[in-house]
């Protein structure tokens, strides 16, 4: 298992590889988005614009059933950002790895003699990974969703939102609380575990050497699929939570 370059600065620990991954992912997403809207056209959209619009339609269709377009617009933006960011992040760790080997102590990277000893004197430091293969990052994303969902619930229909913690009976409060907390937790863990598993298997296949090429091809392909599925899942769950927060009491078909 690789180590990650963690430095301490002003008493706070910073994971350099995660920061690199986040920044790179953000830049790629931004560049992609800018490229796709470079030559916006009403009548003759470019391929990139078409693709972007297709994603928008797709994300919109996941919440359109519960919300009119004007109201849903900003959530479409949110869903778009989530799906593109996570998808790009999921793919980031696939094509290559950057690993440095440390055989001596590197104080500022947190490679102490004790760490070296536990790795037989060869500490492998991974600089490049998917941001979503880090629980801290996925937890951050899940936290954003969690805050948005609950603030929306409080803002839109406070009474119903507060009441649903005590339904069907007040004694169910702890269970409802667990359910509420489990949502972002599963959101973060599901994404993290899927992508991390992919990267671990890639590392393992690399150990096979030349024999691993066909396995690598298959697994890389499958990882792209998994990355797309996880991005889709994260987005659609976010949208479901948001639409649940928007449920009104006078709408018995949607309340739960």
């Amino acid at each position: 298992m690789h180590l990650f370059p963690i430095v301490e600065f002003m008493g706070i620990r910073f994971d350099l590889s995660a920061i690199i991954a986040i920044v790179v992912t953000s830049i790629i997403v931004l560049v992609l988005a800018r490229l796709s809207v470079r030559n916006l056209s009403v009548e003759n959209p470019s391929k990139m614009q078409n693709f972007m619009e297709w994603i928008i339609e797709f994300v919109h269709s996941t919440i359109a059933s519960t919300m009119p377009f004007e109201k849903a617009k900003k959530f479409v933006s949110l869903g778009m950002t989530i799906i593109v960011f996570i998808f790009v992040g999921n793919l980031l760790g696939l094509p290559f790895q950057i690993v440095t080997e440390a055989t001596t102590e590197i104080e500022w990277l947190g490679i102490t003699q004790a760490v070296l000893d536990s790795h037989d004197g060869h500490a492998h430091i991974a600089w490049w990974k998917s941001p979503t293969a880090d629980l801290s990052v996925t937890a951050g994303l899940a936290l954003v969703v969690f805050i948005i969902v609950h603030s929306l619930g409080l803002k839109w229909n406070k009474k119903h939102y507060l009441k649903h913690y005590f339904e069907p009976y007040p004694i169910f409060f702890p269970i409802n609380l667990i359910e509420t907390l489990a949502k972002p937790l599963t959101l973060a863990l599901r994404l993290y575990a899927n992508i991390l598993a992919g990267e671990i298997l890639i590392t393992t296949i690399l150990m096979l050497g030349g024999w691993g090429v066909p396995f690598m091809m298959v697994w890389q392909g499958f990882s792209i699929f998994v990355g797309a599925i996880q991005a889709f899942l994260f987005t659609i769950l976010t949208m479901v939570y948001i639409s649940q927060a928007a449920v009104h009491e006078d709408d018995p078909a949607l309340s739960h």
Binding site: S26, L40, P45, M52, V137, V144
Partner: protein, 160 residues
């Protein structure tokens, strides 16, 4: 795997920043374009509907005009046919009348010629008879009284 809190915080900041940037520079304009296209399509559909109605109306109009023209042509044809047959009848009638008139005139001429010939013959016969009688009777009668007598006899003969 240990959790690095700073990564979480950086993720949140980066994500919100990305959301804001994308919203401002990418999705905002894209939404605008999509909205514009929706309006354009609506407009074009309305225009198509309008032009379809107009086409239908002008089609009906043309059809009516065509029907009318056909009716008119039929009427003109009928009229022409009637006129021609009437004219033909007229020509035939006038020809017939002309022929009858010519025939009558010819008959009249023949009659008058005949009468003339008869009267001339009568005069001739009278002269000849006077000569014959004067020769036969050898009595000198003046020609006038002789002619009266002959005419008298000839009338008697003619009425027989």
């Amino acid at each position: 795997m240990d959790i690095v809190m700073s990564s979480t915080l950086i993720t949140i900041i980066a994500f919100l920043l990305l959301l804001w940037l994308l919203n401002k520079y990418a999705f905002g304009p894209l939404f605008g374009v999509m909205e514009k296209r929706r309006e354009l399509i609506k407009e074009q559909m309305n225009a198509a509907e309008t032009s379809r109605n107009a086409a239908e109306a002008s089609m009906a109009e043309q059809k009516a005009a065509l029907d009318e023209a056909r009716k008119e042509a039929y009427a003109i044809l009928e009229q022409a046919r009637a006129t021609s047959s009437k004219q033909a009848d007229e020509i035939v009638t006038s020809a017939k009348n002309e022929a009858a008139r010519l025939k009558d005139e010819a008959l009249k001429d023949i009659e008058s010629e005949k009468n003339k010939a008869i009267s001339a013959l009568r005069t001739e016969v009278g002269g000849i008879s006077v000569q014959i009688a004067s020769k036969i009777i050898e009595k000198q009668v003046d020609e006038k009284s002789q002619e009266e007598i002959v005419n008298k006899y000839l009338k008697e003969v003619g009425s027989k």
